[in-house]
Amino acid sequence: MARFRKDEKKEVPEINTGSMSDIIFMFLFFFMVITNMRESNVKVKLTPPAATEVQKLEKKTLVENIYIGAPTSNKENTLPPGKVSVQLNDQTIKAEDLKNSIRDFVIEAKAARDEVDKNKLTFSLKVDKEVQMRYVNIIKEELRANNALKINYATSKKVDIPK
């Protein structure tokens, strides 16, 4: 059967890699759309507490973060007695500027939003779970005084194991 002869050495055709880059580009765009860049580098140690009843915040653009936790380096400003820092935007704040810093932070955050969105602005408290409530209370008191009432306790999601 001459038809099925195998000794005619056939070359393996080359794989066309032209469309490979298109596929990778699509991946790239996909990731660019679903992720967001880390805007600020966090200067405090942060392990959020876990909770079961968490809700997702609707819009990321309407969230301002306040970080509270132990500072990562000695250079950071701390609140007395010196074990906990509060970070707004990109820097840890000084204890004596606390009131002004939070006021300016709230005013700036509100100024950056449209009139419609101002009431939807949420301040997310990202607090380390080891922090004592006194620091959180100070921040809450200041936010309240500045009429920033919508807050969120950032937590990680824990799945409840039914008994």
């Binding site: 890699t17 032209g18 490979m20 880059s21 990778i24 580009f25 991946f27 790239l28 990731f31 660019m32 679903i34 992720t35 967001n36 860049m37 880390r38 959020p48 507490p49 909770a51 079961t52 009843e53 968490v54 809700q55 997702k56 915040l57 990321k60 969230v63 007695p81 074990k83 949420t122 997310s124 607090v127 380390d128 779970k129 080891e130 922090v131 004592q132 409530m133 006194r134 959180v136 209370n137 809450k140 936010l143 309240r144 005084a145 500045n146 009429n147 920033a148 009432l149 919508k150 807050i151 969120n152 306790y153 950032a154 937590t155 990680s156 999601k157």
Partner: protein, 190 residues
């Protein structure tokens, strides 16, 4: 005489886009913002406290040792949800649990809304972890009660309902948590 343009080699294109891809993978975070949302009370010059009937208030206190007490009895965190539910629901109208007012709510009709308020008080030395877990338990109690009413009236769980139904349920089971001024057991401890 038009010269033929040589084909551009696109072989390295994939490598370049791979590099970009890994760059974005490393610098970005997928984690979504999540947590327990709360509203702070509006700022007031001097806090006017409306004296509440004692039966309508559930006093939840977290002390400096991170112990939780409800109306003076120390309990475990696992018991808190049931205590709260029992308090807010008061199914048998026991006189030392909160009273109820009949309100007419759209979509539901007459519903006896509990007047119960949860008063949460913490110590300055309370750890944030415990505070959040207490908030979580309270939220869980409310969510379970809302789920119960939602299934009773609409045959679905609360979160599956549309917004008008959800707001009706919210009126039937309001979440009333007031936080009083924290105590300070010891100013010098850290």
């Amino acid at each position: 005489m038009a010269r033929k343009t040589p084909g551009i080699n696109t072989g390295s294109m994939a490598d370049i886009s791979f590099l970009l891809l890994t760059f974005f993978l490393l610098t970005s975070s997928i984690n979504t913002e999540q947590g327990i949302p709360r509203r702070l009370p509006p700022p007031a010059k001097d806090s006017v406290t409306v004296p509440e009937n004692e039966r309508n208030v559930l006093n939840v206190v977290v002390n400096f040792k991170n112990e939780i007490s409800v109306n003076g009895n120390i309990i475990e965190i696992t018991q808190l949800k049931d205590k709260t539910k029992e308090f807010l629901e008061n199914p048998y109208d026991i006189p030392n649990l909160p009273e109820k007012v009949t309100k007419t709510i759209d979509l539901i009709g007459d519903y006896r809304v509990s007047k119960g308020i949860i008063s949460l008080k913490n110590d300055q030395s309370t750890s944030y972890n415990i505070y959040v877990s207490v908030q979580n338990e309270l939220e869980k109690a409310i969510n379970e009660l809302r789920d119960k009413v939602a299934t009773q009236y609409f045959g679905k769980k609360y979160e599956l309902l549309d917004t008008t139904m959800q707001s009706a349920i919210k009126k039937a089971i309001p979440m009333q948590v007031s936080e009083s001024k924290p105590m300070d057991w010891n100013k010098t401890t850290e």
